[in-house]
């Protein structure tokens, strides 16, 4: 995000460069951008190095091995990389869509309806935010084993659907973006609650939903521990766990560093593409309001 925000900030800052304070936020953002882009650029450069070049040439000197790395990676175990990529897309895409749906409905309900126990549920959710999901992975594994669901696609999808922070986000966003008067007007016009949600609330919630979707997509895409514990069958592995099997290949096998780095670089591309294409949903935020509060 820092990367995409940078050019715009710079563009705004130029015309009013005379203001002494104007340079400070830009400077901070530039530093942040360098901080986040540095490792990424290392991955990109290192992916071009062949096995022999990886540890012997200087860090940011591009190598000559990109094509052979790609070919090796795609040939590794008959192209298992593509399967892992597909799995990751399924986990991250499916998980993020379901999680966004659940979070939006829950957040909207918590924000716009008052019912007994609302405060309790919300406080429980806030408590849930404080429990890191890492801590839950093993108990979840034991539970899923009891249910006979361990080592299935569901074992990775289900635990990531309910995400307290996303619900919290959806509630805050619903409160701010949907004026109560708009719903009231809809009710007076005879719309049912379901229709209100679908036709009045949902369009207003889109930017918030895009945010939740992105958060969850990235979180699941990068998640390692949960699939590592849940999955035994390597044909269900996501990229994170799959590439790890290349790294920890046992004491007597060399780590396939160049394949791991190339795989990491490739797995960054969908994330970057997603951020670039989803940006426009944030802009609709500005034109989204229908009533003046």
């Amino acid at each position: 995000m820092a990367a995409t925000a940078l050019p715009r900030t710079r563009g705004h800052a130029r015309p009013s460069a005379r203001r002494p304070l104007g340079i400070v936020p830009t400077g901070v953002l530039v530093l942040g951008a360098i901080y986040t882009l540095f490792p990424v650029s290392w991955v990109v450069v290192a992916a071009t190095k062949s096995k022999a070049e990886l540890f012997s040439t200087s860090t940011f000197a591009p190598g000559t091995g990109l094509l052979s790395n790609l070919a090796d990676l795609f040939a590794y175990r008959d192209g298992v990389f593509w399967l892992w990529l597909l799995n990751t897309v399924l986990y991250a895409g499916g998980g993020a869509v379901l999680s966004t749906a659940v979070s939006t409905i829950s957040g909207y309900t918590l924000a716009k309806y008052s019912f007994p126990g609302r405060g309790l549920i919300f406080n429980l959710l806030i408590g849930g935010i404080l429990v890191p999901s890492v801590v839950l992975a093993i108990p979840q594994y034991l539970l899923f084993s009891k249910a006979g669901l361990a080592d299935t696609y569901w074992s990775v999808l289900l635990p990531q659907i309910l995400h307290p922070y996303s619900i919290y986000l959806a509630r805050i966003y619903s409160q701010a973006a949907i004026p109560g008067s708009l719903l009231e007007a809809g009710r007076l016009d005879g719309a049912g609650e379901w229709r209100l949600f679908r036709q009045v609330a949902l369009p207003l919630l889109t930017p918030g939903m895009a945010t939740i979707f992105l958060f969850q997509f990235v979180a699941i895409w990068n998640n390692f521990l949960l699939p590592f514990i849940m999955l035994g069958d390597d044909h269900r592995f996501p990229l994170t766990v799959g590439l790890y099997t290349l790294l920890a290949a046992g004491a007597n096998q060399p780590s396939l560093y160049n394949l791991i780095i190339t795989g990491t670089m490739l797995s960054l591309i969908p994330l970057i593409a997603l951020f670039l294409t989803m940006q426009r949903y944030w802009r609709t935020d500005l034109s989204g309001g229908a009533v003046k509060s």
């Binding site: 096995k51 022999a52 990886l54 540890f55 012997s56 175990r77 659940v102 409905i105 309900t109 309806y113 019912f115 093993i138 594994y141 034991l142 084993s145 009891k146 249910a147 006979g148 669901l149 361990a150 080592d151 299935t152 696609y153 569901w154 049912g192 609650e193 379901w194 590592f228 514990i229 035994g232 069958d233 390597d234 044909h235 766990v241 790890y244 099997t245 790294l247 920890a248 290949a249 046992g250 004491a251 007597n252 096998q253 060399p254 780590s255 396939l256 560093y257």
Partner: protein, 438 residues
């Protein structure tokens, strides 16, 4: 009311999803029940967790010859994580039928009742292995907990060209090794004869085995823990002294900086195991043909000992419903000539079986300058001695990393680090309820 209906609908959808998932993914989780009733009808299905490269190809050979026992390989990340994952799966009740078990991890599997006793099924396989290696899977008891797969006798890898350049001889004793370390470092302060790795407890265990250490032993029902025995303290103090002197480096193995030092010719030796060529060819490709092997330096001139670093076995899960079939496969994999040939060729494994070691004839490409590589390796392998591993090697190994990290950084007393390994091991075993002999 509408909201309530919505909630009911959501719950219903979730429930349907769950039940379809149950029926969809039933082959593994409910396999226990299914295969017991279905075993006579269809082929027995076994799952196998391993990290040997190309194991799927080796298993294909088995599957073609044995239509009634079909094995599916699931390639895992190797090392300590794999052991932890297997123990968790065994505890949860859905382990794989077969699992690759490193020798040092086998006792913890046994202590957790996670692996089956294969004594009856492996009666004939016993003759295929040397007594020392067989001891690693029996743990000195009457039971047999796994079939040995590969072993890692230790030897000294050294840069032949750079030894000539700096004018040093291949050290025969550790005293000579220390002298050589001083000589090399004097000639070029950027160059080291070797490095002490605080990240590789298995390496240190192997060196201690060479010196005659016995970290664990069983007497009756009680465990005896002697991580701080004289042999181990001798090894630790030796390396500690050299690190303190500054003539041996303190960077860990298998790190990018280590790779770089190997490539730049700033590290001249690596006391390592027989699987070293794979690592060197991948991490230091530029030095191909420049390395050679020799027996480890000895503690006393004229002695001939080595230790083991690494090596693993094939174990059968105690909860597997098809133990007999799994044991049959494990025996085939590690003793059948066809399987051994495939393990060597496809899996780059140094087989533990005597027959398998004899199959190794062509020197590794990286060591093409040393055509008798495997002959030397076999001679050295015959001198290697191991020890019984305890049920909490993970704790001991972690204590090694913690204590020696600090000791190397501070160049402080290495024997004290060994003492803290001992203390951590004993404390953990007491906490876990093992009886300890004094």
């Amino acid at each position: 009311m509408r909201v309530n209906r919505l909630a009911v609908a959501a719950v219903a959808i979730l429930a349907t999803a769950l039940s379809t998932a149950c029926s969809g993914g039933s082959d593994e989780p409910s396999g226990q029940a299914a295969s017991q009733s279905a075993a006579p009808a269809g082929p027995v299905k076994l799952t196998y967790w391993t990290w040997v490269p190309n194991m799927d190809k080796i298993v294909t050979a088995w599957n073609q010859a044995h239509p009634d026992i079909q094995v599916t390989v699931s390639k895992q990340a190797g090392g300590d994580d794999a052991a932890a994952k297997f123990l968790t799966a065994a505890k949860a009740g859905n382990p794989p039928d077969l699992v690759q078990a490193e020798y040092q991890m086998l006792p913890s599997f046994v202590a957790a009742d996670a692996v089956a006793d294969l004594k009856a099924e492996t009666a004939q396989a016993k003759a295929e292995f040397s007594a020392g290696i067989w001891g690693l899977v029996t743990l000195g008891t009457d039971a047999v907990y796994a079939v040995p797969q590969d072993s890692g006798p230790m030897m000294l890898y050294y840069r032949k060209d750079l030894f000539a350049k700096y004018g040093i001889e291949v050290p025969k004793t550790w005293d000579e090794y220390a002298e050589a370390a001083r000589a090399v470092h004097r000639k070029d302060p950027k160059v080291f004869l070797g490095t002490f790795s605080s990240k590789d407890p298995g390496w240190f265990a192997g060196l201690s085995q060479q010196a005659g250490a016995q970290w664990w032993s069983i007497s009756g029902d009680a465990w005896k823990v002697a991580v701080n025995d004289e042999a181990t303290k001798k090894v630790a103090s030796y390396w500690g002294g050299l690190v303190k002197e500054g003539v041996i480096d303190g960077m860990p193995y298998f790190t990018p900086e280590w790779n770089k030092a190997l490539n730049d010719g700033r590290l001249l030796t690596w006391p390592s195991a027989v699987w070293g060529p794979g690592v060197l060819s991948s991490n230091a490709p530029k030095a191909k043909g420049k390395w050679a092997i020799a027996p480890l330096p000895q503690w006393n001139a004229g002695e001939n000992h080595s230790g083991f670093w690494g090596g693993s076995s094939t174990a059968v899960a105690a909860k597997s419903p098809n133990k007999a079939a799994a044991a049959k496969f494990a025996t085939w994999l590690n003793t059948d000539p066809q399987a051994l040939g495939l393990l060597i060729k496809e899996g780059a494994v140094y087989p533990a079986s005597t027959k398998g070691a004899a199959l190794m004839t062509e020197a590794p490409d990286y060591f093409s300058n040393q055509p008798d590589f495997w002959k030397q390796a076999a001679d050295i392998g015959a001198t290697a001695r191991g020890f019984t591993f305890g049920p909490n090697v993970g704790v001991t190994y972690n204590a090694y990393k913690d204590a020696f990290d600090k000791a190397v950084a501070a160049k402080s007393d290495f024997a004290a680090a060994v003492q803290s390994m001992q203390d951590a091991t004993v404390a953990d075993m007491q906490k876990s309820g093992f009886t300890l002999a004094q």
